[in-house]
Symmetry: C3
Subunit: 320 residues, 3 copies
């Protein structure tokens, strides 16, 4: 990624494509801005006029009603108009190219595209292409990045565990294919976490993964030893047909988070998961619904963090 | 149903799941509140700020763009933000459980779920589960209940025929499988109608139907004799393949509402139908479009009644 | 079309179904009203309260997320509530008739239906049927008309080329099946353009096309000779299977707009296309993306023109 694609010439956040390439100050600004919106989410009337008259387009080439809903709620709470598009089912199937679709939408004077696509790099490709008044938020591109997910995770860690520089964090599961893990690792490193571990069978670890600034473990209990934060990843069931893992049961036995395997972590460790959960595959229900799980607070924080990023790229909010 | 699941501790309407278990005063309050919104629907600017800053989620596991549209219009006229979800096509197909889906949505600080589901009891299951700030409206669950439909019917009867205690009402069609009929019978009984009749072949009547407080008829003309209100039900065509009725033509001959069969009813009887109509199957076009049909006023009243229920569960409206 | 179906008794625009039957003054009023909204689209806060409290229903029997999006954005910028319906997938599949669907929606006190349908005449059929307070905009019906597309084209021509009465315009492509071409020809004639040419193989020209007030050409270069405006049509690929054209390559060789074929037109001719573009079939990328292409301004103008038509039929805007 070009170093400054995500910033304007005078250092304002213009696009939000990837944690990689962002300064520590920007991540901290997102967390601080989201703080304000979190308090706001508890009010009775959850409506701010910040983005009134702006049009947010949820452009989900890859379907995800859950992530789309969080962006839709965040945008509406900021009083934006929201257009939901799932171009897979319409114009691109008429043979229109990706950039034609984007050109058309920006010609309608829309202001912000929230883009999800099954191919890595699509959000960046579009960001390179759009004129100054259009902003791009990456809502997940292939196996590359899912930066708003990573930032809601950082927000949740800070909320429950305090300063990053004293924390040990383990990310468990399919690191190899996970855009979530990639963004989490960049965010944890940028914010100066004490130690990041990744835990997975070798078949689900990128080669030379340690270059990302992490320690790799094949054994779950060793990987969880003493950590303050356990970040589980969702296992795509289709991986099993591709021979990355032997069977659901065997995977759960070795890498599933249960009361037993969790015992290795610090006593007050929190459990995170980006959802949706495969109960009994990567996590047991007892742990997912237990007192140390912060899976639902992650969802709540996701609204505030997405409001913060939208407000920062579109308005002056949090820029100063 | 637990007697007080639908009320808060101090007697306010919290959820709207089923007419069964509601007090007469609550039904009357819905009718009175809807009165105000009916007048409002005729104004040029149909927008009230009552639910501004609230988020209504239309969670339609069973698809129905018509019912969904009435709730969407009602919520938007009250200035709520509306999120439409059809989870059948997304997260639950990823293996997420029903309650996980609901947990996620309530974690987003949404306030009201309008739920339709093909299985009886789902709205109640969810209502038992959600925290205090979340409210549930049942938009139809299996063969159990469709209480907003019943209340718009009550509103329409009151509008055209006056006090309930002098009225004879016939419900005609597939009583056995109809959530609409079940809710109508509870509402009519609660509001103290003089007499309720159900008219259907035995194959489409619940066993011991008279326990519901109705008189059963197999003969249409006898059932309609002297009634003030004829409430037709929609016949699900798939019933025919299941041998509940012999053939479309034979069903129409015996139970179809025509000018001829209608002659048995009171001269000023009104004709109701929840829609969509099967013309020529349960009702003739002449009757459906005739001067005694109040099918379209039912639709109009449906908006006002749904606004009333939303305002009552979410706000102070109609609660005193 | 009945001459005055589109006007109220005192000459106000009531429906917008077809350019045919509209007075020159009405078309000019649309252009003037859209002028105001174009300037507005460049503002930071793109929200006007003109249609606040009104409900616009996008009733797209034929799917088109692109055209639907332009109407949705236009309506929301005027502060209307918008309901998107694709009835092909719901009630009409339950056996409800077209007019039942419309009756139901108008009973909900909705104000404006934007209708797209694969059959010619549907928008008019519905307009004849609805009560006074309901307004219809035709967003494309079969091979009949697409009047908002034609008006955004007129707006774009006026913007770039000035007075109509001095202009030569060529429409190139599948004239025979095109609702766009039909509406363009009526609009250009009504606004008094100097000359209209249609360019296509005979298999894609209506018989006796000259009766529409155009000159027909089979040869592209002859047809483009000296024209000020080149309006390309989208070629439906399914036409090829129906033997209207021999092959994609052969069609492009004869009728594709390229730098070479465009050389016949006036030096400052503009290039238009309603989208989506089939690159390399009816137009080369070099021309579509070149300096004389106004394809994206057409999209931008489409929002302003649709806002103008909505404001005129629903409000007093532009009337009087």
């Amino acid at each position: 990624m070009r170093p400054h694609l995500q910033y304007t010439d005078n250092g304002k956040l213009r696009h939000f494509l990837s944690i990689e390439g962002l300064q520590k100050e920007t991540l901290q600004q997102i967390l601080t801005t989201a703080d304000k919106f979190t308090q706001f989410g508890q009010r009775d009337i959850k409506k701010l006029p910040l983005l009134r008259g702006h049009t947010v387009v949820n452009l989900f080439f890859e379907n995800s009603s859950r992530t789309r809903t969080t962006f839709e709620i965040a945008a509406k709470r900021l009083s934006a108009d929201v257009i939901n598009l799932n171009p897979g089912t319409s114009s691109t199937s008429k043979g229109e190219t990706l950039l034609d679709t984007v050109n058309i939408l920006e010609a309608m004077h829309t202001d912000l595209f929230v883009i999800r696509h099954a191919k890595s790099g699509v959000a960046e490709l579009i960001a390179r292409h759009v004129p100054d008044h259009v902003h791009i938020i990456n809502a997940g591109d292939g196996q590359h990045a899912h930066p708003t997910q990573a930032m809601l995770d950082m927000f949740t860690i800070r909320q429950y565990k305090g300063p990053f520089n004293e924390l040990r964090v383990a990310i468990v599961g399919d690191i190899l294919h996970s855009r979530v893990a990639r963004s989490q690792i960049h965010a944890l490193n940028t914010l100066g976490v004490h130690e990041i571990r990744v835990v997975a069978p070798n078949s689900l670890l990128p080669s030379q993964v340690e270059r990302l600034g992490v320690h790799a473990y094949n054994d779950l209990k060793q990987g969880l030893e003493g950590v303050d934060v356990v970040m589980m990843l969702r296992l795509q069931k289709e991986r099993m047909h591709n021979a990355y893992i032997p069977s659901e049961q065997e995977y759960f036995n070795l890498y599933g988070l249960t009361t037993e395997s969790l015992a290795a972590a610090a006593e007050d460790a929190i459990i995170m998961h980006p959802g949706p959960i495969n109960r009994g595959l990567e996590i047991s229900s007892v742990v997912a619904d237990g007192p140390r799980s912060v899976i639902l607070p992650q969802v709540t924080n996701g609204i505030a963090v997405r409001m913060a990023v939208m407000a920062m790229v579109l308005g002056g909010e949090g820029n100063g």
